[in-house]
Every structure is written in C-alpha cells, then in structure tokens.
C-alpha cells in the first residue's frame, strides 16, 4: 500500500512537471512577452532592457528552471492587465468558486443518489419513467443552455431569483462567503442548480444501474428473508456496495466539474476563478492563464490520488501491489 501511494505521488509529480513545461512553452513562445511587458510603443532599447531585466535573454533551460523555481514558491508573475500578483488574484476568487462547486456537489450527490435508489426500486413505475426521461434531458441539454433556461424561467418570467452576481457576502478572515446572507443564498440557487445538472443525471444513472445489479444478489435476498427492515436492506446492505464505484467515478470526473464551473460562472457573472480565466483569455493575460492551468492541474491530480487511495481503503478486495 505504501509503495502504491509513493508510486501515485511520483506519477502525479511527473504529470505536474509535464504540465508546467507546456505552460512554460506557452508563456514563452506564444505572443511576444517582451512586447507584452514593455508595451507596444517601447523603443528597441527599452525592449532590450526588459529582455535583460526579466531574464528573457538567458538560455532556454535556465529560463525553465527559474520558471519552475518561481512556480514552486507560488510566484507566477504579475497580471499583464491589472499588474497584481497572478496567484493572489486567482486565490482571491477561490472562495466564490469553491462555495458554488461545493453546493453543486452536495446537491447533485444527495438528489442524484436518492432518485437513483427510488428508480431502482420500481424500475417500471410511472414516476421512475418520468425521472429517467428527466435524466436523459440532464445529459442532452448542454450546461450553458440549461443555465439560460433557468434564468428565463426564474429571473425573467417568474421574477423569483436574481439573474446574476453573488449578492451580499460576509468577510470571515481571508474568506469571503455568501453562505450567511439571505441575499447570497438566493444568488447561489440558480448557478448551483445549473452546475449540478449534468453530474446529477450521471450519478442518478450510475446509482440506478448499480442498485439494480446488487438488488438481485443472493446476500440481498438473504437480508430480505431474515426479515430486516427495508431501510436496513436498501441503505446498509445494498447502497454501501453501490456507492464505492459511484463515488470513484464522481471523484475522477472532477475536471469536468471545473470545466462546467467556467461555463456556469460565465452565464451568471459569478465572480469566481472561471470567470477570471475567460476574461484573461480575451485579454491574452498569460500569467493568469498559466497560473489557472497549474492550479487546476494540481487540484485535479490531488483529488484523483485521494480518490484512488479512498477506493483502495474502502474496497478490501483491491490492493495495489
């Protein structure tokens, strides 16, 4: 087990190195950083000064080493546009994205797994058919369209919910939270609903498939036969075994969640990291883009490794040697 953990971590570091190398190439060879740093109207001499000041005249491998060294210390340079430290300006927006993603995960997990169980118990009932048709919709309607349809329904037509922004927030230390004001919660509903839509449908389908398989197993028949309550049979005996692969797949598709958070934040003008990334793409603000990519890679790899370990821990049949 220990050797497996070490192996996974080394593998993760290799991937991060590869990503950092690609980022470095982007940073260095798309567009002209000298032009970006010195400004369009700089003279040849000023450009030369910038080139030397930022070390852009040094050999390739030296530049990469210093890029890597700076990245390890969390220094990704300053935004070309706002001249603020790139990592700081992304981390400042982290709470907004985190709260949105967390709400979406909790919602899609409880509702998706719950409905999945419900559907598996009566696969041919009218309610099950409606739920399954709804899940087909969840998979077939792209996230951005779903978000706009929610806005049209709840904000334009019914006028129940605010259409964009994060609303009132409370500052708790370095963390700016929208969880503790009514206005903040109201602003959270539609974005969270949008972000959770696709994952909810996938979780529902996975749970249903797993439950249908497990419910026909011998040990479940035994549990019914010895007169256990339905709650015990379904939740304790069946769901336990279904949840392991479901959680694993949900964890491994974390990259998908980050991608859809970009889409969601763009629709609702949510002041998070995804929205910042899009703005930076339009402004070719490379330090921000590079920092975002590195941070996303780190988070995704971290979660993947955790999920792998959790899987090995939860399922004693699997031991990586």
């Amino acid at each position: 087990m220990a050797s497996y953990i070490v192996h996974r971590i080394i593998q993760g570091i290799m991937v991060l190195l590869a990503v950092s190398f690609i980022c470095f190439l982007l940073f260095r060879y798309t567009g002209d950083p000298v032009l970006m740093l010195a400004g369009k109207y700089a003279t040849q001499q000023e450009r030369e000064q910038v080139r030397i000041a930022y070390g852009l005249d040094r050999p390739f491998y030296v530049q990469y080493a210093s890029f890597l060294g700076n990245a390890l210390r969390g220094n990704f340079g300053k935004s070309y546009v706002s001249q603020v430290d790139a990592l700081d300006s992304i981390l400042e927006r982290f709470p907004a994205t985190f709260e949105l993603a967390l709400t979406a995960i909790i919602f899609s997990f409880t509702v998706g797994v719950g409905l999945g169980i419900l559907v598996s118990l009566k696969p041919n009932g009218a309610l099950s058919r409606i739920i399954m048709a709804g899940s087909l919709g969840g998979i077939s309607i792209p996230t951005f369209l779903m978000g706009i349809l929610w806005v049209m329904l709840f904000a334009v037509y019914l006028e129940w919910l605010p259409p964009f922004g994060r609303g009132d927030t409370v500052q708790i230390g370095p963390w700016r939270s929208g969880f503790f004001t009514l206005d903040g919660l109201k602003h959270l509903i539609m974005p969270a609903l949008t972000l959770s839509g696709y994952q909810l449908a996938v979780l529902l389908r996975l749970t249903r498939a797993g439950m249908r398989e497990v419910l026909s197993e011998e040990y479940i028949k035994t549990a019914w036969a010895k007169g256990l309550s339905p709650f015990k049979v379904i939740i304790k005996h069946a769901l336990r075994n279904v949840l392991i692969p479901v959680v694993t797949i949900a964890g491994l598709s974390f990259g998908e969640l980050i991608a859809f958070s970009i889409v969601t934040e763009s629709i609702f003008q949510w002041p998070g990291m995804g929205n910042l990334l899009l703005t930076s793409i339009f402004e070719t603000d490379q330090p921000i883009i590079v920092t975002y990519i590195m941070l996303a890679a780190f988070i995704i790899l971290f979660i993947n490794i955790m999920v792998d370990l959790l899987y090995a821990f939860l399922n004693p049949r699997i031991r990586y040697d």
Binding site: S140, P142, I148, V151, M152, I258, A259, I262, L277
Partner: protein, 297 residues
C-alpha cells in the same frame, strides 16, 4: 450494390431489431432530416445570413411570423443584426455537424492507431500513451478544449476541430487498447503469427475488425458530446469566430435580449441543439444494446 448483398443486409439482425425499436427510428429520422437540412442549407434557407450584401440591419429583432410585427419573410424572426433565425439555424447546423463529424472521425483514426500499437506492443509506448490518456482524461475534454483554445492564437473552424481532437482521442485509444489486449492472445491471432504474418497484417486484418464494434458505440455517444462541446465553446466566445454561424453563438447573442422578452433568439436554436443531441443519443442507445450488450446500463 447487387441483389444478394441487399438481401443479406435487409435480413440481418440489425435491421430486424432496428425496425422494432421506435425510439431508434425516431432518433435516426431526426438525424437524417437535420443532416439533409444542413447539407442543403443554401437552397432551403430563405436567405444567406452571412452574406453581408443580403442582410439588412433595418430588419433587426423581428419576432416570429405568427406574432405581432412578424413577417413571413422571416418565419422564426430575426436577431439583432437582421439575420433570419431560421436561416442562421440551418447554417449553424452545418457548423455543428461539420465539427462533430470531423472530430469523431479524426479522433477515431488517432485513437485506433495509438490504442492498437499500445495494446499490441505494450512496453514504453503503452505506458506513455496510457499516462497521456490518464492526464487528458483527468483534465476532462471540456476543460482541456477551453484551455487550448484560450492559448491558440488563430481562430477558425479547424482550430476548434483541432483543440477538441487533442482533448478527445483518448476515449478511442483506451477502448481500442482494451479490446486489443483481450484479442491479442486468441488462437487465431497466435495462428496468424505462427504462419508468419507480418505485424501490420495481424493488426489490421485480424485484430482491428474484432476490436471495432465497441468503437462504434463510443463514436455515436461521442458525436453528441462533441456537438454540445462546440456549442459550449462558441457560447463562451472561444469557439468558432463570429464570421461563422453557430448555434452556441446564436444563444450567446440571444442572452443579451432575454430581458426584452425576445425569447425566439434563444429557444429556437436551443431547441434545435437539444433535438439533435437527443436524436443522436436515442440512436446510440440502440447501437450500444445491439453491438455490446455488456456495456448496457
């Protein structure tokens, strides 16, 4: 095609089960209609919405024909540039289907070649391809496509196709590699090897035909995913350039006018997109049950 081949096709189990699956028939019918509509868009559509000489800014924001102020010149209304919604949808379908089919065909080819070599030869090549696949998979196709298009300097249909392909081929490579690992130790492959067949011949004559069925299922499901992805990218503004028609971009423009109650700019292209994706999904559900009962969920 000669009569015997025709007869063989008509009597095959695929045609039999297809004709008895109403949702597969509906899905395929919609797909065929959409493909025809896209192919013949220049003939079918009332105007060419991307011909600057034909559009008249004076015709902006006209509602659908059956509403007050609507006109039969623009059956589904117009957008803020005076382009007919119906015409733009027909041209947008072309982009959706072009990107969708290009990506799945190119990704399939890349995936088959790399997946087959990885599965057959194993070793360093295998671990390299699979590590790359793991990485791409962890990032997710959508995130990777957004990031790639964010750093690419040129914009165009082929740029979008390229970015999605880079993020997409791993699905095919993984599937093919899995099949090859299963097939490669079969007696007929060993026999071919023993009789002195070259690797190339073994791979393409003996292994590939047996590894293909699951690929068709992945391909059908993926077509819907790629079409949604193109729309998403264009909606975000990192997809096709504004000079190309796209359902996603139509919706992005329409989003500016939802408060003015101009729903037609979103609901018509949106419904087209959903209908197309549902149709492909209905078809791929049937294909999956037919080709690979093990995959059925």
């Amino acid at each position: 095609m000669n009569v015997q081949v025709m007869k063989k096709i008509v009597e095959s189990k695929y045609v039999y089960s297809f004709l008895r699956d109403p949702s597969a028939i509906i899905g395929t019918t919609i797909m065929v209609i959409f493909i025809f509509a896209a192919l013949f868009a220049p003939v079918l559509s009332p105007m060419d919405p991307y011909d600057l000489e034909k559009i008249d800014l004076g015709n902006f924001l006209i509602p659908p024909a059956w509403m007050d102020g609507g006109s039969f010149q623009f059956p589904l209304g117009t957008d803020d540039q005076g382009r007919g919604i119906l015409s733009t949808i027909l041209y947008g379908l072309r982009t959706s289907l072009f990107v969708g089919f290009s990506v799945v065909v190119i990704s399939t080819i890349i995936g088959i070649v790399l997946g087959m070599l990885a599965g057959y030869y194993g070793g360093i090549l295998d671990s390299f391809v699979m590590r790359m696949a793991d990485t791409v998979f962890a990032f997710s196709t959508t995130l990777l496509a957004v990031l790639l298009l964010g750093v690419f300097e040129s914009r165009g249909l082929w740029t979008v196709v390229l970015a999605i392909c880079i993020a997409d081929w791993v699905k095919y490579a993984r599937t093919i590699r899995g099949s090859v690992l299963e097939i490669r130790d079969n007696a007929y492959v060993v026999a071919a090897k023993a009789s002195g067949a070259k690797d190339f011949r073994i791979l393409f004559r003996h292994i590939l035909p047996n590894a293909l069925p699951p690929i068709f299922v992945v391909l059908a499901v993926d077509l819907a995913v790629v079409i949604m992805l193109e729309a998403t990218l264009s909606f975000l503004g990192v997809g096709v350039p504004i000079t190309e028609p796209s359902l996603g971009m139509m919706i992005a423009i329409g989003k500016n006018y939802i408060y003015a109650g101009m729903w037609w700019m979103i609901l018509f292209p949106g419904a087209t997109l959903i209908l197309l994706v549902v149709a492909i999904n209905l078809f791929s559900d049937w294909l999956r049950d037919e080709l690979n009962p093990k995959l059925a969920r």
